[in-house]
């Protein structure tokens, strides 16, 4: 599944980042790299963007951008 589909309150693990160029670099620069754990903290009142906890800090990202991030359950089983 992709990050934008993860329900609030769930933790996932990053498998792959599908976009290219500046967006990919920006996402990775902020610490979203392969294998990192992401906790989906909340969704903004209007339904977008989403707030994540990554590497111990809070990050907000638009769902459209989060759709490029492939994630799996923390246990490791892909879905």
């Amino acid at each position: 599944m992709t990050l934008n589909e993860v329900p609030v309150g769930k933790s996932v693990q990053v498998e792959k980042i599908n976009c290219q160029g500046a967006l990919k670099r920006r996402i990775m620069d902020m610490g979203i790299t392969k294998g990192v754990k992401i906790y989906v903290r909340k969704i903004a009142p209007f339904g977008d963007p989403m707030e994540l906890t990554v590497r111990g800090y809070e990050l907000s990202i638009r769902k459209a951008d989060a759709a490029n991030i492939l994630v799996a359950d923390v246990a490791g089983s892909s879905c």
């Binding site: 160029g21 500046a22 990919k24 670099r25 996402i27 990775m28 610490g31 790299t33 009142p45 990202i61």
Partner: protein, 711 residues
């Protein structure tokens, strides 16, 4: 001349506060990612060594303006040492930047900030181990409490004296081998002489700026490209991601060894955020805060202070005493009028906004410093993105209902340059308090029973912001590079009084000086135009240069329904200050105090327009070029005439277009007048607007191209 030291670090790591402690100079402190855009420097306390404050950055990628500014300075400015501020409470992401800084061949000293907060959370950090693992001296400091800053200066200067630096940072086997190979190639062919691994990495990342600078011959480049592609094939990713991944792996490794994490617990910041950005409470809380800011700054305290300064201080005390003094000394009557009506009237009414600005910036800098502004963007982004703006555009628009000047200034909190430009261009569409008397006068004269007319201006203004936002995004100026909205939500914290005071003072001073000088000249010029004729003799306003210019320009406004010289002069005088539009009618019809006594003027002006023409007149005044104070502020915030003129041109063009549509279509509908040609033109223009609004045209570019930044 002493050493030159660069201060680098992530946004929100306390960098600007530390800069203040190290130099003692005045500086702006914010909590918004990327607040420090310009390069700032100062002498380190008690030495002649220079400290350069770099923009707050997360990385040295070529994609953000701030990052390009920072790395250009680090590479070409040849600082002797880099002080890298690392926020201990956010150590992983902060050390990621450290891995890039240490590659530049410049000694790096780590200033470990916010250790007190870090220890409060129960986590433990082994500083000695961190020094060994990073290869950099580590000095724990507290920027806020100003502790251990002297030790940091000492260590940094020692590092500068010693010079030279070998990072301990190594990548895993295959990647490091590839980097070494590429570096050796670059050295062998004489393309570079130093910093081999940094250049090798940049070339492998295909960093456009570096490739352009190095100008590598085709043969070498082909060789490097095949080596890089081999690596990419084997690791199944692009080189840039492979390297970013490796850096974070290195950092994770350091943190695993040097930091002992306490079990997670709710911090104060988490608790605040749970309420403030709560799904149901977020919007009510937001509305309450905005209402509070607006209520205090614009409608109550600020407005009393402004009225007092304009009417009592400048109107009675300064003007009264000065007039008495000038009369006693036999000053010519025209000069008294110039000083009173021209300069004090104009400059005074602008300086009257200073208390509003100060109160407003007190609130804004508090909200910014404490971390709430980032949440505003988070909450409002979805709504504003629909019409091409960002979540951060809300605040300027709200403040714009009071005055465009502080509104335009508050747009600084928007980090993306295109969003900021667009916000600055569109904010003046919101009816400011000075435009209200125009609507009151016209509505009173032409629409005494239709109470919806005056408030409808707010809807026209908001509608135009939305319409323009959607349309402008389709032009190449704005369609180019949408910034990815990947934004840190910094931890809440209590800002220091000092940083807020500095911020408010900086903004107010800039307003008084910059806007003041332009207004002073503008007022003087307009006063002369209004009181002199072409023979340079003093005359009544009706025979003045301004009136003759008005008469000359008037035909231009004929299609809009107000092609007479009186309204033309009123519109022109509105450029000085929008209050003047009503005041000008007062002068022209000899009604004193026209702003308050609108009835007498109303009966006169009802001869000038048809009701439709009068509505068009309101629309034109609402949207056209703002007053000189706003123009001066736009000039300052847009950084030059190019964008200022574009903005004024766009605003006035839109005003003309809208007033034209109102008058032509309105006249045809209600009075059965107007030529067929004009109506056809109006309908075609309206259709064109509609087409621009709904079409998928994106200025020849697709909407989702992120590219390297143009500096």
């Amino acid at each position: 001349m002493g050493y030159s030291i660069a201060l680098a670090g992530n946004p929100n790591c306390g960098k600007t506060t530390l800069f203040n402690s190290l130099t003692g100079s005045k500086q702006y402190v914010g909590n918004w990612p990327g607040v420090t855009v310009e390069k700032k420097s100062g002498d380190i306390k008690g030495t002649d060594d220079e400290l350069v404050d770099l923009p707050g950055i997360y990385s040295l990628s070529p994609y953000s303006l701030d990052e390009v500014v920072a790395r250009d300075y680090l590479l070409n400015g040849h600082p002797d040492t880099i002080i890298d501020i690392v926020d201990a409470t956010n150590i992983e992401r902060n050390l990621y930047l450290t891995t890039q800084l240490t590659e530049l061949g410049i000694p790096v000293v780590i200033a470990l900030n916010m250790m007190d907060l870090f220890e409060k959370s129960g986590d433990k950090l082994d500083i000695k181990k961190l020094e060994v693992l990073t290869g950099c001296p580590v000095v724990p400091v507290s920027a806020l409490k100003n502790s251990n800053v002297d030790a940091l200066i000492r260590v940094a200067l020692d590092a500068a004296k010693t010079g030279g630096f070998k990072p301990l940072f190594h990548y895993s086997g295959l990647l490091q081998k590839t980097i070494d190979k590429v570096g050796a190639l670059l050295l062998r062919d004489g393309i570079i002489t130093e910093n081999a691994s940094w250049f090798a990495i940049k070339v492998m990342e295909r960093d456009g700026r570096v490739l352009k600078k190095l100008d590598i011959p085709n043969e070498t480049m082909g060789h490097i490209e095949s080596i890089t592609q081999d690596l990419e094939r084997r690791l199944d990713d692009d080189s840039e991601s492979i390297i970013t991944d490796a850096r974070y792996q290195f950092v994770t490794d350091i943190v695993d060894k040097a930091v002992i994490k306490a079990p997670d617990s709710m911090t104060m910041s988490d608790k605040i955020d749970r309420i403030v950005t709560n799904r149901w409470l977020a919007l009510p809380i937001f509305a309450l805060i905005m209402w509070g800011v607006y209520y205090v700054a614009v409608s109550t305290v600020g407005s009393y202070a402004t009225t007092w300064i304009t009417d009592v201080f400048f109107g009675q005390i300064v003007s009264g005493n000065l007039t008495a003094w000038m009369e006693a000394h036999g000053t010519a009557e025209w000069l008294i009028s110039l000083v009173n009506d021209g300069i004090i009237g104009g400059v005074g009414s602008v300086l009257g906004f200073v208390p509003q600005i100060m109160i407003l910036f007190c609130f804004i800098s508090f909200l910014e410093d404490c971390g709430y502004m980032a949440r505003v963007a988070f909450i409002m982004d979805r709504l504003f993105r629909r019409f091409g703006l960002s979540g951060k555009s809300f605040i300027p628009m709200l403040i714009g209902t009071g005055c465009s000047v502080p509104a335009i200034m508050s747009s600084r909190t928007i980090e993306d340059i295109e969003d900021r430009r667009m916000t600055i261009m569109l904010t003046p569409f919101i009816p400011c308090s000075a435009k209200l008397p125009i609507f009151a006068m016209i509505a009173g004269a032409f629409f005494p029973t239709q109470t919806w007319v005056a408030p409808s201006m707010y809807f026209v203004g908001i509608g135009m912001v939305i319409l323009s936002g959607i349309i402008l995004k389709k032009f190449p100026f704005f369609a180019g590079v949408p910034a990815p909205f990947v934004m840190e939500l910094p931890k809440y914290h209590m800002p220091s009084f000092r940083s807020i005071a500095l911020h408010v003072w900086d903004r107010s001073k800039a307003f008084i000086i910059k806007a003041g000088t332009v207004i002073f000249i503008g007022c003087t010029i307009i006063w002369f135009l209004e009181n002199l004729n072409w023979q340079m003799a003093f005359v009544e306003p009706a025979e003045s240069i301004l009136a003759s210019i008005g008469g000359f320009i008037a035909p231009l406004f004929l299609p809009l329904g107000f092609g007479n010289w009186q309204s033309t002069v009123a519109v022109l005088s509105g450029i000085l200050a929008k209050e003047n539009v009503v005041a000008t009618f007062g002068i022209l019809y000899g009604v004193a105090d026209a702003t308050e006594n609108t009835g007498a003027v109303a009966s006169q002006i009802s001869q000038l327009f048809t009701p439709v023409g009068a509505y068009a007149f309101m629309v034109f005044n609402l949207l056209a070029s703002p007053c000189v104070a706003s123009i001066a502020t736009m000039y300052r915030e847009l950084g030059g005439w190019k964008w200022t003129l574009r903005a004024i041109g766009f605003q006035t063009g839109m005003a003309y277009l809208m007033a034209f549509l109102v008058n032509q279509i309105g006249s045809a509908l209600f009075y059965d007048q107007g030529t067929v040609t004009a109506v056809v033109i109006a309908v075609v223009l309206a259709a064109l607007l509609l087409w621009l609004l709904i079409s998928d045209y994106h200025g020849g570019k697709t909407n989702l191209t992120y590219k390297e930044t143009d500096l």
